[in-house]
């Protein structure tokens, strides 16, 4: 009750629609070519190591981390490099990319072998080498995450998967639980973090049962069922729900004594430690009302969206394609975009479902306030932003928003609240920068 007075944060009841929860990931046929971006992570883009005409294999390093906060990039296919060229991303920025014509053999690079890990330094070096980043979507380089300056007492595994439609994490847990446990144990052993909590939303009872069974002999690992409301899977909210701590604004999870890893990331780490295969493929959920056969598919990194659509089939008239989850993922305008390490889903919406709703006047019902997981007040931010009132935006903490989409979801007037929040945030931060004072 006292917490509710502080901040309602009810958590939106988004539809679960996890129709593909039981769909075992199957590899899709190899595309004729892949385009591997040199920037699939937060931080500096990787530098391409190959040039046109080079022969590459599965697991060959083709991009070298371009700085401390950066990640290596590996080839997901065997074949010949057709081009190394800049490519325009959906956010308008340019990014180097390596186009590889596949030879269909999928020959594994002879250099791929399980890394020798003996201590913390060699463990971190191995994590860095495999190009692992936060696969939940943020893409923060894992090796950087695993060496915090603050003291950390808990490794949190984010297995809540609160996004509508997505089930790739669910399948990862059901299919690769041993890899997950191996990954967790390695992180605990080499970083010296004493305990691990796996947070899973209670709409995935089979995952909870399986992981409970697998971890019952290990007192360091706890499986924590979480309420299935949207927002639980956000890193900050997960820390609050699992540990009862808040990350101070602008800080990292380590400031609250936690490191958060996505369940697929830790599973990929487990696989890498066993086989030495870096991050070259991932499971993607393809769903939505315009998808003919909703399913989980394993795709090589760099596969064009169009190739995936051709494989799963489009039903009716395609209106909108969303990369990632339906709540936070961007709508793409060009199906030649390639998948990256962090692409967790493709949502295909029909023309009818994609029609924008009619926007009505705000009735000040306060739902955006009640459901904001961060405890912000979008309706007030809207007024302050309309008046371009920098001081008021600061008082309302417009810069705390992380675009989860809850406010737009619950808005009965169907206003683009989340979009307004990001505009307000950008405006506020821009003005603060200009003014130079906080």
């Amino acid at each position: 009750m006292l917490n509710k007075l502080k901040r309602a944060a009810l958590g939106a009841h988004t539809p679960h629609d996890k129709a593909t929860a039981a769909s075992k990931p199957i590899p899709m046929p190899l595309p004729a070519q892949v385009r591997i971006l040199m920037s699939q992570h937060i931080g500096a883009p990787a530098k391409a190591l190959v040039k046109k005409g080079d022969e590459v294999f599965v697991g060959t390093k083709i991009g070298e981390a371009g700085g401390f906060v950066s990640a290596n990039i590996h080839s997901s296919v065997s074949g010949t490099v057709a081009a190394v060229e800049p490519f325009r991303l959906s956010n308008g920025r340019m990014c180097d990319s390596v186009v590889i014509k596949t030879d269909g053999k999928q020959t594994v690079d002879p250099a791929v072998k399980a890394p020798e890990v003996t201590d913390k330094a060699s463990f971190l070096a191995a994590v860095r080498e495999c190009g692992l980043v936060g696969l939940g979507g943020a893409g923060f380089p894992t090796d950087v995450k695993l060496q915090p300056k603050q003291s950390v007492d808990t490794l949190l595994i984010n297995a809540s998967e609160c996004e509508v439609w997505l089930t790739s994490d669910t399948q990862e847990m059901l299919e690769c639980s041993d890899d997950i446990i191996r990954g967790i144990k390695a992180v605990l052993q080499y970083t010296g973090i004493p305990k691990c909590i796996i947070g899973i939303e209670n709409n995935k009872p089979e995952c909870i049962d399986l992981l409970c069974k697998k971890t019952k002999d290990d007192s360091a690992i706890e499986v924590k069922p979480l309420p299935s409301v949207y927002g639980t899977g956000a890193e900050l909210i997960l820390i609050e729900k699992c540990l009862g701590r808040e990350v101070p604004h602008g800080g990292l999870p380590a400031d609250a004594g936690a490191i958060v890893m996505n369940v697929t990331s830790v599973s990929t780490l487990g696989k890498y430690l066993a086989t030495g295969m870096p991050v070259v493929q991932r499971t993607i959920t393809v769903d939505g009302d315009a998808c003919a056969k909703p399913q989980n598919v394993v795709v090589p990194v760099g596969t064009a969206y169009q190739d995936i659509l051709d494989y799963v089939g489009v039903k009716g008239e395609l209106g909108k394609v969303v990369a990632g989850g339906a709540m936070m993922g961007p709508a793409v305008e060009n199906l030649s975009y390639p998948t990256t390490k962090t692409t967790s889903g493709l949502i295909l919406l029909s023309k009818a479902a994609a029609q924008p709703a009619q926007v009505n006047p705000c009735i000040r019902c306060g739902r955006c306030v009640e459901y904001c997981p961060m405890g912000l007040e979008p309706v007030e931010v809207n007024q302050a932003y309309a008046a371009r009132d920098v001081q008021e935006l600061g008082k309302l903490h417009a810069d705390y928003c992380f675009n989860c989409g809850s406010c737009s979801f619950v808005c009965p007037a169907k206003r683009p609240v989340t979009q307004m929040m990001s505009l307000a945030k950008a405006f506020y931060l821009g003005e603060i920068k200009k003014g130079g004072n906080k």
């Binding site: 007075l5 502080k6 901040r7 309602a8 939106a12 009841h13 988004t14 509508v164 609050e240 808040e246 101070p248 604004h249 602008g250 800080g251 008239e317 395609l318 209106g319 909108k320 394609v321 969303v322 339906a326 936070m328 993922g329 961007p330 709508a331 793409v332 305008e333 060009n334 199906l335 994609a354 029609q355 924008p356 709703a357 009505n360 006047p361 009735i363 000040r364 019902c365 306060g366 739902r367 306030v369 009640e370 997981p373 961060m374 405890g375 912000l376 007040e377 309706v379 007030e380 705390y400 989409g405 737009s408 979801f409 619950v410 009965p412 007037a413 683009p416 989340t418 979009q419 990001s422």
Partner: protein, 319 residues
């Protein structure tokens, strides 16, 4: 690329709730009151309600037509205003006077300030107050056109000198004088249950408002019966459930809603207990409506990860 894709900002799914569905919920919740008023006061109650609804919708449509604005009547908010205003007049209200109330509610209070979401006070409430002050004669005539119940009571229970003689059951069932919607507590509670069950409103405002009035009366009179009479009589329940919870004129946060409810309780109690008016709810609501922006300002939520500025950093971090 042969097909053009639609691009828009996330999220790409929306809840089923719309302005229209919320207003429809309120209309459904008002139905028990309308039915009860027809049973208690006779069929003229239905006529009054129908006229008020039609007048509100027509005024809204006409105003937007004249000003070439998009037609807003499909959001059903004018219908809600019409029913609530009708529930706030006695059954014998002359139709012409009622329509003046509708005009004030829709044109003056709602549309002149910018339409739905922009009104500073609850339109139906101001409509009621204007009628109350302008046509005090008609507004205070608690006549029962139905002869069968005519003998029961002619005055609103609040004006009764000795409340201990009033039957709580009669009060709860609404067999006493008053305006159309306020008498039958049972119907109002049914409406409240529906509104809370459909998550249309939060229970915070009705609970804190009615609760605080009850507590104040209990302290002042030291008598459970009179405190219950105070809660069940007059417009308190109807106002707390249907008028204090108006989205536009109530605070956003739980903290704000509780503050608002208790302040309403204080003002209502003060007017009823010490003031010369027997009925304090509408003035309490109007008074507190004007405070809502300030309450909002003072009862903000604490955002996640907020640390108090450097001076008090230690306290903030320890929270």
């Amino acid at each position: 690329m042969d097909t053009k894709l639609i691009v828009s900002a996330s999220p790409h799914v929306r809840s089923d709730e719309t302005t229209q569905s919320l207003m429809a919920n309120v209309i459904v919740a008002l139905c028990p009151c309308v039915v009860a008023s027809a049973i208690i006061f006779g069929v003229r109650a239905l006529l009054v309600t129908a006229v008020s609804v039609v007048a509100c919708v027509v005024f809204e449509w006409l105003y937007c037509k004249l000003l070439k604005r998009p037609n807003p009547i499909s959001d059903l908010s004018a219908v809600v205003t019409g029913i609530i205003l009708a529930m706030n007049v006695p059954v014998g209200m002359p139709i012409g006077q009622l329509i003046i109330g509708d005009l004030v509610a829709i044109i003056v209070v709602k549309q002149l300030f910018g339409g739905i979401g922009m009104n500073f006070a609850n339109p139906a409430l101001v409509g009621r107050i204007v009628l109350f002050i302008s046509f005090a004669g008609s507004m205070n005539k608690w006549v029962f056109p139905d002869a069968a119940v005519d003998q029961l009571s002619k005055a609103t229970p609040l004006a009764v000198a000795d409340p201990s003689k009033l039957s709580l059951l009669d009060l709860f069932m609404g067999i006493h004088g008053g305006v159309l919607g306020e008498t039958c507590a049972l119907a109002i509670v049914l409406g409240l249950v529906y509104l809370v069950a459909t998550k249309t409103i939060s229970i915070a405002i009705p609970a804190s408002y009615v609760g605080s009035v009850f507590v104040f009366y209990l302290i002042a009179t030291k008598d459970l019966h009179s405190a219950l009479v105070a809660v069940l009589s007059g417009g308190l329940l109807f106002g707390a459930v249907f008028m204090a919870t108006d989205y536009v004129t109530s605070p956003f946060t739980l903290k704000g809603k509780l503050v608002y409810g208790v302040c309403l309780g204080i003002v209502t109690f003060a007017i009823r207990y010490w003031g010369s008016y027997t009925e304090g709810v509408s003035f309490a609501l109007l008074f507190m409506n004007l405070w809502v922006p300030y309450i909002n300002d003072l009862t903000r939520q604490t955002p996640y990860g907020y640390v108090k500025p450097a001076k008090k950093a230690k306290e903030g971090a320890g929270k």
